[in-house]
Symmetry: C2
DNA sequence: TTAATATATGAACGTTCGTTCAAGTATTCA
DNA sequence: TGAATACTTGAACGAACGTTCATATATTAA
């Protein structure tokens, strides 16, 4: 992750502001080049900082979306949305190796998107709750609303 | 991406099934080791295959979640949920460099999660639509429902 | 017991990702 | 015009990811 900047919410002592105009330039710190922070609108910064999501929570949430951010795992979710399946059949439906599928199921399991039960030597997987499906369909919804061509993101340059 | 397995939906000719029992072993292909597919329950596989999300769509959806799968970008979203902001103030609120923020805004922009308007030399960013926020809050919802300790995913071994 | 099956997992390999650094554009001010 | 500002972008570097391969565990069948 490299040298992450500090995420101190109780940091407002530094928020010196200009004479009164809304367009003020303020350099933070004495002049250390580790973090070049230039306030353009100190009031706006102060306002949104209160609503800024906690850094730890942001990382946790990012982890959840990360789990959803893989085509293989999404395809697994689309299968499990239909019915409970054993690893073997998921691999068959996806035409992938059991190993690859098992690795991905582990990821889904660790973020509690799927659960499983053992029966003999097989493991039957299913979706853990409907939050997963909500996220899934909400995501599809977004694609439907934004995509003109849908194949790729906006090509701009 | 390495040697990806074929994702041919019209592939059911291969679905030979056993005498009648639900527990049948079927090897696909003559014996090529490129794709070891062992059907345990051919009916289940055939059933869920119909509902299997298209591979291209899965990749597209994965791309959307990918964009949401970063703490910095989520923190930006949490700021823009409050109000429109220029790059400079986002950087200030996050205590990150403008460069890093600009790179991430580009990612959000390309997936059409944020839009921006130019005013003089500044660029004011805002959320593109409320789908983004829905995904965001839905994600937080999921965390609230699953996390006992919430800090990390299920520790299992 | 041995062999086969169903799944899990560690290491490795190539790819992707997010940040930093060093430019580069475009606008404003003197 | 030249300097400063606001933002963008390409290259590079280390970290993280997804698959493959080989192996390990556990259950069932012979």
């Amino acid at each position: 992750m490299g040298i992450m900047l500090v995420d101190d919410p109780a940091h407002d002592g530094e928020t010196k502001r200009g004479p009164g105009g809304p367009r003020t330039q303020v350099k933070e710190g004495g002049g250390s080049d580790t973090c070049e922070v230039t306030y353009t609108d100190p009031e706006a910064v102060a306002q949104v900082r209160k609503k800024l999501i906690d850094s730890d929570l942001a990382h946790e949430l990012a982890g959840l979306f990360q789990v959803m951010a893989d085509a293989t795992r999404l395809r697994i979710v689309s299968l499990l949305a239909e019915r409970e399946l054993c690893v073997c059949d998921i691999a068959a439906a996806l035409e992938m190796t059991q190993s690859a599928v098992s690795h991905q199921l582990r990821v889904l399991r660790m973020m509690q998107l799927v659960k499983f039960r053992r029966q003999g030597r097989m493991a039957y997987y299913s979706l853990d709750d409907d939050h997963v499906l909500k996220l899934y369909t909400q995501g599809l919804d977004h694609l439907g609303h934004t995509s003109g061509g849908a194949t790729g993101p906006e090509k701009e340059r």
